[in-house]
């Protein structure tokens, strides 16, 4: 086990910057999730840590060793691929023992490790099967098994659950997290799915266009997003954004002339801002922002209501069942402590007081 340190890591293809100035410290035993939209550089970053891609600048350290010029096989890492990348001509047992055989481990040690891993993952009865004879979930488990028999310093996961159906994905999510907790191996996990990121990570790293947007614990990112990108990316349904202009004492004037109270009392009057309100913090009330109900989506536990207000669509998540019908006029309000205020010019969050 080891920590992973990235110092000023950059990568570019010609004039295209895939990664710029990535600084990240991953503690020993930590589960870190890299998340972002496709093309944000998260997979490239993971592959650079694995040694499958070269970086243009900066240092990659595993433990105290700088590994920029170390071949993938000598980095003591294991990786689980999105496509699983099981060797099609080898059975489950050979797939799992391949790395140990290459290391010339003793037959008895290989046997013990493979048995242990297949026991943990429930693959005992499948050892003789070829990958093509396995279901998606089983293949996923074999790929995990291949990683854990190694007992590596770091696990790398590249969107390992993307090819599974929703139910299996939720189940494997829990299994992977439980496994990581019991093994205590430092893990770096790439996904575009913010739910996976929220549920599995000790810390989440949000990337966009090759730049780290924010690093923090899941709820920290949810409660205090550093900018509009993170605010919009984390959370489902996504946060509502409303544009406005700051008035006095944290009041913000909206497009329809109404104003709304925020906690950002240090705002200079006249400053252009973007307000962010999560759907569960937007409430139906007797007064406030005027709007009209468009669509009602009952989900059982909650009810999702789309309201047209200020010429845009706002989403509201109500815990109670509602008697509303489409077309009905409503008023919306939100408590000032739940309104996020961002600078419209650069998207950054204003500290609330």
């Amino acid at each position: 086990m080891a920590s992973v340190t990235l110092r000023n890591v950059s990568k570019s293809f010609g004039s295209v910057h895939v990664l710029s100035g990535i600084n990240l410290e991953i503690a020993d035993g930590e589960f870190v999730v890299l998340v972002g939209p496709s093309g944000c550089g998260k997979s490239t970053l993971l592959r650079s840590i694995a040694g499958l891609e070269e970086v243009s600048a900066g240092d990659i350290m595993i433990g105290v060793r700088r590994v920029n010029d170390v071949a993938p096989r000598d980095r003591d890492i294991a990786m689980v691929f999105q496509s699983y990348a099981l060797y099609p001509h080898m059975n489950v047992e050979d797939n799992m023992s391949f790395s140990l055989k290459l290391r010339k481990e003793s037959v008895s040690k290989i046997g013990t490790r493979v048995n242990q891993a297949s026991g943990t993952l429930g693959l005992g009865a499948l050892l003789e099967r070829l990958p093509k004879q396995l279901s998606g979930g089983q293949r996923q488990r074999v790929a995990m098994g291949r990683a854990i028999v190694r007992d590596p310093k770091v696990f790398l996961f590249d969107e390992p659950l993307s090819n599974l159906d929703a139910k299996l994905r939720a189940q494997m999510r829990t299994e992977i997290k439980a496994l990581q907790q019991s093994l205590g191996t430092t893990s770096i996990y790439v996904t575009h799915d913010q739910i996976e990121a929220m549920t599995m990570a000790n810390r989440i790293v949000v990337l966009n266009e090759g730049v780290i947007q924010q690093v923090g614990a899941p709820l920290e990112l949810y409660d205090k997003p550093a900018n509009t990108f993170v605010a919009g990316f984390i959370g489902s349904p996504t946060m509502n954004f409303i544009e406005g202009v700051a008035g006095a004492k944290g009041e913000v004037k909206l497009a329809d002339g109404s104003s709304i109270a925020t906690g950002a009392t240090s705002l200079k009057p006249g400053h252009e801002v973007t307000l962010g309100i999560r759907p569960e913090h937007l409430q139906l009330s007797g007064k406030g922002l005027r709007g009209e109900v468009q669509v009602i989506e009952p989900l059982g536990m909650t009810t999702q209501i789309a309201v047209k207000a200020l010429g845009q669509q706002l989403t509201l998540m109500a815990m109670e069942r509602t008697a509303l019908s489409p077309g009905q006029p409503v008023h919306l309000s939100a408590s000032s402590k739940h309104i996020h205020v961002f600078d419209r010019a650069n998207g950054r969050r204003f500290a609330l007081t």
């Binding site: 694995a50 993938p72 096989r73 691929f81 496509s83 790395s99 291949r146 190694r150």
Partner: protein
Amino acid sequence: MVGQSRVQRALSKIGFYAAIGAYVLFAIFPIYWTVKISVTPTRLLYTEGIKLWPSAMTMENYSAVLSATDFPRYFLNSLIVSISTSLIVTAIASLAGYALSRFQFRGKAVVSLLLLLTQTFPLVMVIPPIFRIMGSIGLTDNLYGLIVIYTAFNIAFATFLMQSFFDGIPKELEEAAMIDGCTRSTALRRIVLPLTLPGMGATISFVFTAAWSELLFALMLINSESQKTFSVGLLTFIGKFAVDWGQMMAASVMALIPVCIFFAFLQRYLVTGLTAGAVKG
């Protein structure tokens, strides 16, 4: 099919098999006729007219070909040339195909284009210069010359074929192997190569057949009896005043045997190989 009566269904089935039967008959008839003439005694060849099977059968033509002609020699020469060519071509094409499939390098597009261009020249056009070149370095009238020429002319297509097989093997497999502890070359040997065997089988059989049935170069470059391949040898049955049909057909039938054995052996690989190369997954 839905909405058809039993009679209609039976009729369409009959039509289906009739069409297949006609197709197979059309494809197989020349071979059948070759076999038929090879077992017909020479005296009956013209006297019986057109009959589907002669009234008497003989193996004389076969024994005559094997004992009284140089055909065993031609046969051996063809075998040497075809096997050497197919092995050399497949070895080189595998390496080139792997490089084209996996590496990015300057001039890659140009290499592909040049390989493709070599396929567009009519062979007849390049025979005179090749004859001169081969003559001056002593490669006419021997089997080495043929192996060199056949290798050169088959390598482009074989390279594209192998490239498509390598393209069909996901890159992640090699990356996984390299993380598991392989160098690029051990990953190639232990992961990629076993998965490419069907592709190599397809390439070998393709090149073997091409070399086995080649006539033009063999005819131009070879003079001595001892160096002739069977395709050239077949022409010796055509004399100035007569054609020995029986022996020529017997020799042809025997020439088919290695190709048939080869394909029977490789058929499984050939079918899986060609589809695996064409469709990813």
